[in-house]
């Protein structure tokens, strides 16, 4: 259908500012829509298709609407991911900074851990989880945990004392953050929060036992266990806040008056 091809060609020209892949996807979608309509109306001749297309918005107008929405979507996605991840970083980094002041420890480590958890793990998880949203819930949790672990690589270097060492046990915070992002998606009762916290604290103890890290020896001290649980709770609260902030911003953005 030459008339349809010409119409789509004009729309595509209007989409020239978009990346090629996205442009082709939008054209493919519009073409599918118009072919569905032609089939539904039983249009077979060029004249009939042309008559229907003349009734539609001009290709330039459609392209203009699509381009405007695309850039707005990209901006919104970037901002919400940054803010949601920032909530995790702010909660964990803020808590560690206060604790560091209390215990007289260097502030740099708190900031590094907060940045690594917030920007690498938080923003990263919120960014990539859109790719697995249609999968089975159990698979989503598994993927989030796996990706959280990978994204936590900078955290492995965050707890630098004097020598740059990679602490692989710190990757487990990324695993936990990934788990929480998917788990909180479907709501979590207070007992669930407590159960998650206890299970993760026990996992940390197991990892410390395997690795025999210096702080393994500190586990006989209940205040250390309490502090560890408190940090895990702060991480839980950070992820919960990040997820809810994300949803709040999405809802407000979606319903705000616009051109559509």
């Amino acid at each position: 259908m030459a008339t349809l091809a010409a119409y789509l060609g004009e729309v595509e020209r209007g989409l020239s500012v978009l990346p090629r892949r996205r442009r082709l996807e939008l054209i493919r979608e519009l073409e599918a829509n118009l072919l569905d309509e032609a089939e539904s109306l039983g249009l077979a001749s060029e004249e009939a298709v042309g008559a229907v297309l003349r009734e539609k918005e001009s290709p330039a107008d459609i392209a203009k609407e699509l381009v405007a929405t695309e850039s707005e979507n990209v901006r919104h996605r970037r901002n919400t991911k940054l803010m949601a991840g920032g909530a995790i970083g702010l909660a964990t980094g803020g808590y560690l900074s206060i604790l560091g002041l209390w215990l007289g420890r260097p502030w740099q480590m708190s900031v590094t851990i907060g940045l690594a958890l917030g920007l690498a793990v938080g923003v990263g998880i919120f960014w990539i989880r859109s790719h697995w949203q249609r999968m089975h819930p159990a698979l989503r949790v598994f993927l989030a945990m796996a990706m959280g672990t990978l994204l936590a690589t900078p955290m492995g270097f965050a707890a630098v004392d004097k020598v740059l060492t990679f602490h692989w046990t710190l990757l487990s915070y990324g695993t936990f953050a990934g788990y929480l992002v998917e788990r909180f998606q479907s709501g979590r009762k207070p007992l669930g929060w407590l159960g998650d916290n206890l299970a993760f604290t026990a996992l940390l103890f197991a990892l410390a036992t395997i690795q025999q890290r210096h702080w393994f020896l500190e586990w006989h001290d209940w205040s250390f266990v309490t502090r560890s649980m408190l940090f895990n709770f702060v991480l839980q609260a950070g992820v919960w806040s990040g997820l809810h902030l994300h949803r709040l911003l999405d809802g407000q953005w979606l319903l705000k008056p616009n051109r559509i």
Partner: protein, 108 residues
């Protein structure tokens, strides 16, 4: 009918339709036309930006499916976050309608 009011409700209208099951673009246009007796016709230049916006908010997702005749269609489906948002907005809408009804509806 106030068309501006309808336009502002497009994301919720789409979420509500998709909560019944995955749909493709032309199917949405036709369903809206049918249910509003032709009062509201969604045009492509309004429908697709609205769907893409819902997708950017991660309230819906899309997937391509090949038909028996070899043609492809892009289906849209609601995600859990979209379903939760829709439920919350439905509750708000009911409260709003009940409140307005108290003023403009028949007095018992």
């Amino acid at each position: 009918m106030d068309r501006e009011l309808l336009k502002g409700s497009t994301p919720l209208l789409l979420l509500s339709l998709l909560s019944e099951g995955p749909m493709y673009g032309y199917q949405i246009i036709e369903t809206v036309r049918g249910r509003t007796d032709g009062t509201y016709t969604l045009k492509e230049g309004a429908l697709y930006p609205a769907l893409h916006k819902l997708e950017a908010a991660e309230f819906i997702s899309s997937f391509w499916e090949t038909q028996p005749n070899g043609r492809e269609r892009r289906y849209y489906a609601v995600l859990p976050a979209g379903a939760a948002f829709l439920e919350a907005k439905k509750r708000e809408w009911k409260q709003f309608v009940d409140m307005v009804q108290g003023f403009v509806g028949p007095r018992g």
